[in-house]
Amino acid sequence: MKYKNIQIIMLLLITCSFGACKKELNVYPTTSEVDGNVIVDAKSASTVLNGVYYRFANAGVDYNNVPTVKWSGVNESVPSELSGMLTNSSGDDGILSFTFNSKTSEVSDEWSYGYNLVNAANGFLKNVDPVTSIPAATKKQMEAEALFLRAFANEQLLLYFGQYNDPASKYGIILRDQVVSTSNINQPRATVAATYTSILGDLNTAIAGLPSLNTQIYYTNSWTAKLLEAQVLINRGASGDYAQVIALTNDIITNGPFSLETNVKDVFWTKGFASNEVMLGVQPYATETYKYLNNQFYIQYPVSDSLISFLQNDPRNKWVYQIANSPYYGPLPEFTKYYSGDPVNVNQTTLSEYCYAFRLTEAYLLQAEAITLSGGNLAQAKTLLKTVEGHAGITDFTDVDNASTAAALQVLVVKEEMKNFVGENGQDWFALRRLPFATMQTLQPAIKTATTLIFPIPNTEITTNGQVIQNPGYSN
């Protein structure tokens, strides 16, 4: 070979590797997608949107790495321990006794749940935005779904961590409307007012873009968005809010496609998502056992004495809990709201893992409560309450009929919300907090001070994000 040939080969070799490398040094992964490229069409958009629902369901894996929806971990047991409806067979976990602090794991879980959902929603919104190949109507609906889910997350965060009942407060939540990158991780808290503005803004857009019914009941719809708005407003309780709650819930009850289940027990024990009462469900994995193991196998969260007394003379005392022998703790009132099988010799049932985020019952009760709070027509509220209780199998409405003041009736409505939504979606706890503080304490004596009505900001957030201030009454 000639010297020249060699030179040419060398040059070729070197230039080839140079030219090829720009692209190769930027090689993309094969087992994951890169932010910015993740949505290219309607199909990939729906996959990413499904990922937002994944966060909504708090999906993950159990201790054995089996894919599992862990909605129950953040939205069933914790709020119902706070409301005093459920207890913990392992003893005080800090939630039961209201002695939680910024390092309590349940507190961090609640915080992470909300922000996981927010960032997933923001990721969808950012990535779908530039994609033009998706039909406009489809894109609008998908964006509406993501906005609904973001509003839900922010509502949860506000209700658990913010001074939600004081619109003038500076203790709102960290509002994130951009996808997280290393440059925007650390953000301060927004005011409560700004938080409400953001949530309601998202909801208004969502309501406009959502269909009356989605393809599946575990995907959201406009009625659920309206019910969420009603939830948000009744907790804010600012002027005009209650009227709006009444209007929204009235709209849902009269114009929505949903109807109350004849007996509410059937929703949980036999029908599941087939029940027309379910407005938004959380779909479990076929192979998961998490909720069943917690509730039945370990009897981890038995019902409290207080719920047992609430359910005296209530047909629900036959199925919401049943006495069973725990191998570890002896006889316990096992929480069997989702479990239709033998409470002693337990075996998983079809519906034991199902979770329910929104049910029509809530619209009735929120309206009844809003009427009592806004000085409305108590008879109308009583009818709503009786309708709900009737569907629970109650026939004796003496105490409802006897409630002569708005305050007394509100207590009854709230008690029904606590019974109805125990271990379900946190509405038992949020309803309890809407009572005057003293009344609240009589129903849940574990509450000692008003500052513990909201959680502290988790310690890791304070230490890593220098811009966040702690809630009053808590140390970092």
Binding site: I6, C21, V27, P29, T47, G51, Y54, Y63, T460, N465
Partner: protein, 1182 residues
Amino acid sequence: MKFYAFIKAMLEAWLPPKLLLVMKLTTLLLIIALVQVSAKGYSQKINLNVRNAPLEKVFQIIEKQTGYVFFYDDNLVQHVTVSLQIKDGKIEDILNTYFKDLALSFNIIDQKNIVVKSKEESVLTKLAKYFTPATGIKGKVTDEKGKPLPGVTIIDKRTKIGVITDRDGGYIIQANREDVLAFSFIGYKTKEVKLEEKFTTGVYDGSNLLVNVSLEVNTSDLDQVVVVGYGTTQRKDLTGAVSTINTKDIEDVPFTTIDNALAGKAAGVQVTKTDGSPGGAVRIRIRGSSSFLGGNDPLYIIDGVPLQVQSNYINPGYDVGSPVGNDVTGAGGVNAGLSTSFVNGLNALGGLNIDDIESITILKDASSTAIYGSKAANGVVIITTKRGKKDMKPQIFASYYTTVSTPITPKVLNGDQYRTLLTEAAQNDYDARTAAGLPIPANVNAILNSPSTFFGTANTNWIKEVTRNTVSNNAEVSIQGGGNSSKYFSSISYNTTPGVVDGTDYQRVSGKINLENDISSKFRFITNLIIGYTNQDIGDGAYGQAIKARPDFAPRDALGNYTDFSSVGASYQGFQNPAALVSATNNAKTVSLLGSISALYDITKDLQFKSTGSLNLQQYNQRNYTPSYVAIGTYNGNASTGGIGSNSNSTTTSWVIENTLTYTKKINDKNSLNVVAGQSYETDKYSYFSATGEGYPNDNVLTSLSSAITPLIVKGDNPTSPQNYLLSFYLRANYTYLDKYLFTFTGRSDASSKFGPNNKTGYFPSGAIAWRISKENFLKDVKWIDDIKLRGSYGLTGNQNIGNQMYRTLYSPYSYAGSSALIPTQLGNQSIKWESSREADGGLDISLFNGRLQATADYYNKQDNDALLSLPVAPSSSYASVLSNAVGIKNTGVEVSLDGDIIRTKDFKWNASVNVTWNNSVVTKLPPTADLGQLGDLTGLEYGNTTLVKGQPLGLITGMKVVGIIKNQAQLDAYKAKLSPFWAQYLQPTLGIGDPMFDLDPTTKFPNMSEVIGHAAPKYYGGITQGFTYKNFDLQFYFTFSQGGKLLWGDHIASEEFSGTANANVSMLNRYTPSNTNTDEPRLLLGDALLYKSNLDLFNSSYLKLRTLTFNYHFNNSVWMTRAGMKNVTLFASATNLFTITKYPGNDPETSDDPYSVTGGYFDVSNYPTTRTYSIGIKAGF
């Protein structure tokens, strides 16, 4: 100049330096007297550097340099050529030393004329010649590479008649059958040939007997060629810290893998075999650890193909319980039986046969490693394998050895001891509980009240039950040779090593092919292939179970089923029948291929171009089946229904295309230059597939995946293109001035796909200076000094051995409601950059007494300030952490190695060498919030049990600190007063005399569970070799040692107190009792003692181990060998692990739980026993 003659003549035995000084004068006088010149001598210095130069020309050079004039007959010097390398030589020495083998005599006349004559034949010679009928002996003399050597002197030792080879290396001489011919040539070793033997085989060329001879180059250690990055150099020209390993020392020792054979062989290289599993993994660190996430194994370059060590183990999604693992971590539910066995049992270098290796070089400092830039921070091990030889008839080498292996096992309680101690533990607990008014647990009642039903009747030695003595075999054949323009080497070896634990086996077939072709005088082509296949049955921790198995249980019950062990402890403690575990299938097969094709072109005499394409391929196949009667561990207890099994495979492919230009130029006498510039392009691809299923119809036949009824896990990735790329440019320049001042500059730029757009490229410069102080005027005349060299280097190396795509924000696929879902799972940090180590090295190389004593010392300081670690970020980001260059680690150390021939006589030689390394790795930067859970922890035993603390060395073990044993009521009361009442009342109500007192947390007054209880890293370590050669016998002792380290002996934790009712080590016999109060071990308290690792379980792991003892006998050439066609035969025997001097009470102080971990590796988890082996073998050349 050097006085070889002086050394050879006078220094047959070791002489003290003082005596040497005295003798120096005498010798000088002698030499002067011998030289036939006036005593004045000549001051002119002669410098010569010629190769195969005509003698006439050499005379001319000398004439020019000295003014001497040679007088000679042209015929006399015609065809005589010489190779000489002389610096500042004197004429008399040249004539007497270098020219003495020529058949010429030199007489210096009048201090300016030299008369050259033929050496005169003596009268006797003439007579002998006259009377003896001689045969013509004819042949050709060549060098090692087969090139003809003109000018070789051939002298018949009897007649003293000599001839000289012609231009083509040919000669002809008359000699008798009983004569011996001596072939000598300057720069080559003299070779003697007994003609008797040649006459027997009798190959004739016409009437002349044909005797061809090849001469070996006579090089001193300083001229020894050392392989370095992208080239070779001579030892004397090295500027960096480089160790070489004599491959002769590691041949034919049953170490199986090369990394294992490196232990104690080179300073600065720490090698720990993780356990005794055959062919298993080795923990190897060169100058400590430098990365948290990136792995700390050195980069291996095998025949130019880079290989980064990693474990091929694919987690099948389940594991089996590991009782010792539970004890080590202090937590139940540790299921690491399978993972520990695989991580320790697989070795990425397993496909390479040690006996194929030609040379091993270990590059340690930044100057020598920087040419490998981004992969070099952990040091580089360059391995070159054997190649063919030019103009060499095919030579076959065969070797075979067989090895007997026996396990070295610990002593555990026998049936009677077990019954006694368990009863004592139950009685103590009964008493303590009665005193505290507590109910009596069922098992305590059962042991005390119905021992006959509680205890089994057997007396099983479980260790014996699952271990065995084995015989293994190793056979290999290689063929080497070459013609005029091509050469070849190929080999194949087969090794089968049944493991000393039942159900474990190791088999390997490994081979290589090397072909080199000269297409033209300037163009060469080299093909090299190394292929390895290993087939391993790895096991799942049966041995670890055996040391805990109840001796009163028989292996099988009355029905012939494996005895159920579920009553031994809670399900999360994972006790199982060891015999049942042995019946599981846990197989791994690895095919590895290292192949390369290179083209070399000599553009000019000084400039060479080389282009290489190479492939490193690893094909791994893993099969697991755990029968239905073996419990697999999960959080909720046994989850296996009807057996569980998996099939996994993976393929790792790395391609490298490399082009280098090498320029070597001796500009003039004073300046020489060597420059290597190159470019490389590298890609890596990893594909894998793994499926796990459960529910099998039976446990013996239908155990393949297709028989499973429930699929559990399916995972895999098989990308079409590589997942990462590396594009590099590099340059190294060596400049030597006066052969005295040496300078090296190395630079490399690496662009990697692993980093963000602004940080893809890393630059790794380094420089080194060396000063051969012995070449200075004030030392160069000191004759016993061969070389003294001072070295200094500084440079930057990198590490990119981290995951791909770490800089991007990623979405990962999951599913929700039966549809795919994409979730943001990784927050990318675009600003992450290369981890870089700054290393300074200062070294000293000394060679004295003609290479009889050699010493090297180095000090190094290696600082890594920007190692990668994920640090926690605000959880409101929805991410837990983000990767950043946030941590630092520093290694400082001193390495010393000495090598000397203590005795060197003709028949007897005693060589000794020793090397020691003091290394200290300190964490210099580590945010306290960092979650150490992300560090490599393949076996799952490190996290939470070791820790890293800023300012502290690596190897911290955490646990409880026992301050003493409570020996009387006063101590008990005092301890209770300090202890939190809650603890005393609820957590340890049975606290009493004989229990340990723990160091308490000042705020909670609870015993502190995670104190740093020990610094486990050794202070220094190294190796000692003692070699003896007597005539045909070689004997070599090879010791390794380690001093100042600590090991956490896992089995001791549950041998302080019973874990469940499992068995314990005999160390339990030393427990506290009222009659044995002078002990560190607490009393036995069944079920109520705190079973947690503490400083009581931490033991000094210093040791001195006779790692191998080898013995060789080389047969003299004899008739039977000739008849069998053998050229040489050696018998050899070796033994490993003959004895260990240590205070460590466990099984073996040289052990590690995880070869890859940065934080740990200092747990003795009793996964596999160490073995002692005895081998015997034979090696023959045909």
